[in-house]
């Protein structure tokens, strides 16, 4: 077979695969890689189960929300689409903030605070952490490390700004 034909075929294959990356979404959402609120919620529940199976349970007093995590539409009524991994990310963050919130509680006994901080260090086992870009991962590592050393200021600010409602 003439080399230019093979070359043209190879270029076509490369373009087709790259185009699939851009356009093809098995979830069937309107935007590539996006999914509906229901699909994101399914992923959320799967991640919650996966966390519990790995011993990453929620902090005392926290329970997994059964609904209302992902909106179907925005305030204008337009349908919302959720990015890939949104469900897993939100579940992992919910788990993380359950323990972060406990760790920064003022009247918590020292041993309970240490136990909460030990849980926080396990954030590295979560899908959320593993998918972070390096810079954000470093920031999270630093936040947990300073908390483990006894300086809770950074963790407290994070909890104030980002903690979901229990």
């Amino acid at each position: 077979m003439p080399s230019r034909v093979v070359l043209a075929f190879a270029v076509t294959v490369i373009a087709a695969i790259s185009a699939a990356g851009l356009l093809w979404s098995p979830a069937g959402g309107g935007t590539a890689g996006r999914s509906t609120a229901a699909a994101a919620m399914t992923e959320y529940r799967q991640e919650a189960r996966s966390l519990e199976a790995r011993g990453l349970v929620l902090a005392p007093g926290w329970r997994w929300p059964v609904a209302g995590v992902f909106a179907d539409s925005d305030p204008d009524g337009a349908p919302m689409a959720w990015g890939p991994g949104s469900g897993a990310q939100r579940a992992d963050l919910y788990w993380f903030y359950s323990w972060a919130n406990r760790a920064v509680t003022h009247d918590l006994p020292p041993e309970a605070r240490q136990a909460a901080l030990a849980q926080l260090a396990r954030v590295r086992e979560t899908t959320y952490y593993q998918r972070l870009i390096p810079d954000t991962r470093r920031q999270l590592d630093a936040e947990v490390a300073t908390a483990l050393r006894g300086d809770l200021a950074r963790l407290r600010a994070d909890v104030r700004a980002n903690r979901p409602a229990p």
Binding site: S3, L7, V11, S18, G21, G33, Q130
Partner: protein
């Protein structure tokens, strides 16, 4: 029976290497590197950083492309270099994400959602790798600049790793730096201009540093909503 020159690469030992075989070799290398990267990502903190890094794995693909382009004796060298780079990158992504799905028990649809932006980025990336690799073979100032580009795109990750301490510097920074230097070391028989190489590497490093958070942010799905 000898192959037609137009479809044949010439190895150093004088034996022909078909373009198909070169692409297959690049794919095998990509599979191996992707698997190593994912295994690193499952390891300790510094190893995880190495697995999640970009420059070192892309540079391995560049070196492979550069070596193949250098051995090329037929026509369409630049185009085949791009194809070889694509073969490496696609295979890397396949191995990295397939292993991620297996080891972390992640559903295929979620893995595809994670991988698809990178898959889409292969087309422009293989053009850059193939064209830069081919241009770096020129014995001119353009060749010197192109030869320094991999070192340049490696520098930001080397600096960031060094900033994080000795462990990260050793586990992430050293391999990344060595990979970035590999094209320069492999082309040491050429009389390149040191000042040109240094300036080109620093300029590339600066551009990549300024663009990396935006580009990686979009690739990781944290970019502006579309």
């Amino acid at each position: 029976m000898s192959r037609p020159a137009s479809a044949t690469l010439e190895r150093d030992d004088g034996r022909g290497l078909s373009a198909g075989r070169a692409v297959a070799q690049a794919a095998v290398a990509g599979l191996a590197m992707g698997a190593v990267a994912q295994l690193c990502s499952q390891g300790g903190e510094a190893a995880r950083e190495l697995g999640a890094s970009t420059a070192v794995w892309v540079t391995v693909g560049f070196v492979l492309t550069w070596l193949t382009a250098r051995a090329w004796t037929g026509r369409d060298r630049a185009a085949w270099a791009c194809v070889i780079a694509a073969g490496y990158l696609f295979a890397w992504l396949l191995a990295y994400h397939a292993l991620f799905a297996i080891l972390d028990h992640v559903p295929n649809s979620a893995v595809w959602g994670e991988a698809q932006r990178f898959v889409a980025a292969v087309a422009p990336a293989c053009l850059i790798l193939g064209l830069v690799a081919t241009a770096s073979l020129r014995d001119s100032i353009v060749g010197d600049i192109c030869l320094a580009v991999p070192l340049g795109w490696s520098l930001p990750e080397v600096v960031l790793a060094a900033r994080d301490g000795w462990t990260y510097a050793l586990v992430v920074g050293v391999p990344t730096l060595l990979a970035g230097l590999a094209p320069l070391l492999l082309a040491r028989d050429r009389r390149g201009r040191v000042s040109t190489v240094v300036i080109a590497a620093l300029a590339t490093g600066l551009v990549v540093y300024l663009l990396s958070s935006t580009v990686l942010g979009v690739l990781n799905g944290y970019g502006p909503a579309t």
